[in-house]
């Protein structure tokens, strides 16, 4: 269970998150959408403790997030643009993260072979292609079998084949009952992967609920249309 309680985040004069209240129950796959600069990434970073909210509090399984780090044991995070220490090799990076996290990875090898990273293991991160970098990020986020997975624009750098592979994996995780948070610009991905939707505009939540309900409300077959309509309404 993830709770945002009255979260406000200001960067200087700019208010990025404006009094957000959210409850995301366990086992739910949620897509976060919104225009550029609406505060999606900031919301995710606040949840991860990377960004410190100006006001309010976030709870993960009733545990507060501020000044706390143990709760991240149960989180796997795949960042928007994955950048890793340039001189490390892929294998070293995995080894390093294993030392940093306490738990033993549950299916590391399986994930590596699933994403076809074996030939890349001894290469330095700086020589990796953007797509392979993303895959490394995906493996890192999944290999400790966390209960909560956060993907920030996960398929942005992936070729179509890898993209499909990734989505299949996410479906698998979903069926295992993991909680999944996902931001993306590609609405079809959300349709494929998420059951619930959060729509953020200018730091405020405009919609949070089952995706089907939204589609029904906007009498739309496709999410893209519904979201576009919402954006127009917000702009008006």
């Amino acid at each position: 269970m993830i709770e945002f309680k009255n979260i406000t985040k200001k960067f200087g004069k700019l208010t990025v998150l404006d009094g957000i209240n959210l409850e995301i129950p366990d086992g739910q796959a949620t897509g976060i959408v919104g225009p550029n600069g609406s505060g999606k990434t900031t919301a995710i970073k606040s949840l991860l403790g990377l960004v410190k909210p100006t006001e309010g509090n976030i709870y993960v399984n009733e545990e507060t997030v501020s000044e706390n780090w143990q709760y991240r044991d149960g989180i796997g995070y795949m960042p928007q643009v994955a950048r890793y220490p340039e001189n490390m090799t892929v294998a070293e990076l995995f080894r390093f993260i294993k030392k940093i996290r306490n738990g033993e990875p549950s299916h590391e090898d399986e994930l590596i072979s699933y994403f076809g990273l074996e030939p890349e293991l001894d290469k330095a991160m700086r020589t990796l292609s953007g797509g392979n970098c993303q895959k490394v990020g995906a493996v890192l986020s999944m290999m400790f079998n966390p209960d909560l997975l956060i993907f920030d624009e996960p398929t942005a750098g992936l070729d179509p084949r890898s993209s499909v592979q990734f989505k299949n994996k996410v479906r698998e995780l979903k069926s295992e009952g993991k909680t999944i948070l996902l931001t993306t610009h590609i609405m079809s991905e959300i349709e494929e992967l998420a059951d619930y939707l959060i729509f953020i505009v200018e730091g405020k939540i405009k919609y949070h609920g089952p995706m089907q309900q939204l589609l029904d409300a906007h009498k739309s077959q496709r999410l893209e249309g519904a979201v576009a309509k919402m954006m127009e309404e917000a702009a008006a």
Binding site: F11, L50, R72, R83, Y84, I97, N102
Partner: protein, 263 residues
């Protein structure tokens, strides 16, 4: 313990980056040349300490500031892991400050080793030189970190402040002191002058070098306050404590900043 893991990886990363060898090599070449041309006596030690007083603050501060930008990805990766920010900070800091100190120590020590300077009576001076270099490295890496964190979004600004800060502490500050001395020299300004030098870590380190190598000149000074200060253990203890304070303050500021920062 996790700090050590981070530190260990940072260390490997630096070694792979090779520039740390270059840094050590600079000291090695300079020390070797100074010993070769100046003999293994106090002359070489004095010249090495002059180089140390200049180069260590400059490199440590600039690299301290730049390092955080360079390891931004690393930092972000780790922050998303179940890891205390404090642990991460000390890992990052140690990961730079320790290799820098080691490079300095080795670079200076190796030429002394093969010139046979270590078995002489100069061992105390040499130890002081090494200790001062290490403390200055730790101190200015801390200031560099603090600048880097303060201007995390703007690397040019961080680098600029590091350079200007160095120029100020290494040269301009002393110019100011000299100006005050020549303007107010007829008044009893010894105590304020001493206090003023305590406010600049480079000057502090320089005063400790003076206490080691130039005590004869310092004792020839006619003022009672200087004589009491330099002639007793108080001088070296006060200077040492002030230097420690200088070491703690930027690090304390940095940890606070690091804890509150958004990434």
């Amino acid at each position: 313990m996790k700090s050590l893991t981070i530190l260990n990886y940072q260390w490997k990363d630096l070694v792979r980056g090779k520039w740390i060898f270059g840094y050590a090599l600079i000291y090695l070449l300079i020390s070797d040349a100074l010993i070769r041309f100046g003999g293994s006596g106090p002359k070489a030690l004095l010249s090495i300490s002059n180089v140390m007083l200049l180069l260590v603050p400059l490199v440590s501060m600039i690299y301290g500031a730049l390092y955080l930008y360079q390891s931004k990805e690393f930092t972000e990766l780790l922050l998303a892991q179940p890891l205390n920010r404090k642990t991460l900070f000390w890992g990052l800091y140690g990961g730079l400050a320790i290799p820098l100190s080691s490079a300095y120590t080795l670079g200076v020590l190796i030429p002394m080793l093969y010139s046979g300077m270590l078995n002489g009576e100069q061992i105390v001076s040499i130890l002081m030189l090494l200790a001062l270099g290490i403390i200055l490295t730790l101190l200015f890496t801390g200031i560099g970190f603090w600048l880097g964190l303060s201007y995390f979004e703007d690397r040019i600004k961080g680098l600029g402040f590091a350079l200007v800060g160095w120029l100020f502490l290494a040269v301009l500050y002393d110019g100011l002191v000299l100006l005050i001395i020549f303007m107010l020299g007829d008044y009893p300004i010894e105590k304020p002058m001493l206090a003023l030098t305590m406010l600049n870590p480079i000057d502090l380190a320089r005063i400790i070098v003076l206490l080691e190598f130039d005590i004869s000149a310092l004792m020839g000074y006619t003022g009672a306050i200087f004589n009491r200060f330099f002639g007793s253990f108080w001088g070296i203890i006060t200077a040492g404590l002030s230097l420690m304070l200088w070491l703690v303050i930027p690090l304390w500021g940095s940890t606070r900043k690091f804890r509150e920062m958004d990434f």
